[in-house]
Symmetry: C2
């Protein structure tokens, strides 16, 4: 095993995670006994996806010498109604701002991440509907 | 879609996420152009898993009136060598400390989470080897 994280129980539903030497709080919402000290665990699956593909894309665009002023990755997810509640779909929106951005290169960078580099996308695609779009703002 | 997160590019490989109203930093390691301002994206998949099952277990033990003094969830993961690098296995270690802890109830709580409640476990189990163990310290 080549990766590891740790999660320490603090109190009620609050946990302190340690990831690559950084601390992260997780907590449940008040209606299920939490004290709102941190985000819920499940959306972290979407954070993993967004981060993985966002880093690919910014790094590929950098190699292509495409300069962007703003770059934002939004992920929406759909959970099942029944337990165990799990994601059945995620949609990634890549938003760019910049001067005369070349849409073909943005598309190429996103496609390379989705097809070749992003391991989180590769994993999720096997078990849910994974879609994406690109917006130039 | 009923869940969403956002990730905003800051500089180089640094991103600021927003999850349930909380901010989370993500960054790459220095050897791939990052500035080490936050954890890597991929281990967030393990954080999602640990948090999901940890909250189930502590909540079930609470209903069973089992009092634990310390509770810790460790997740180890194995990535493929080839791109796209993805998890092929994860191992969860549930660690408990407390006075005369009933192993059968700890096992029951963990099993309920793994079989019935934890949607992250249910998702990952479809695409990787997912194992666990319980330790009383």
């Amino acid at each position: 095993m080549n990766e590891s994280i740790n999660l320490k129980w603090l109190d009620k539903m609050a946990f302190e995670g340690e990831v690559n030497g950084f601390k992260i709080m997780l907590d449940a919402s008040a209606d299920v006994g939490g004290t709102e000290q941190g985000p819920r665990p499940k959306p972290m699956m979407m954070v993993a996806l967004a981060g993985c593909t966002a880093m690919d894309v910014i790094s590929i665009l950098n190699k292509m010498r495409v300069e962007v002023d703003h770059f934002n990755v939004n992920v929406e997810g759909e959970l099942t109604e029944e337990h165990p509640k799990q994601f059945i779909a995620m949609h990634i929106t890549y938003e760019f701002k910049g001067k005369e951005l070349p849409m073909d290169k943005l598309e190429k960078a996103v496609q390379l991440s989705q097809d070749k580099y992003c391991g989180v996308s590769a994993t999720y695609r096997k078990v849910m509907k994974l879609t994406h779009e690109i917006k130039i703002l």
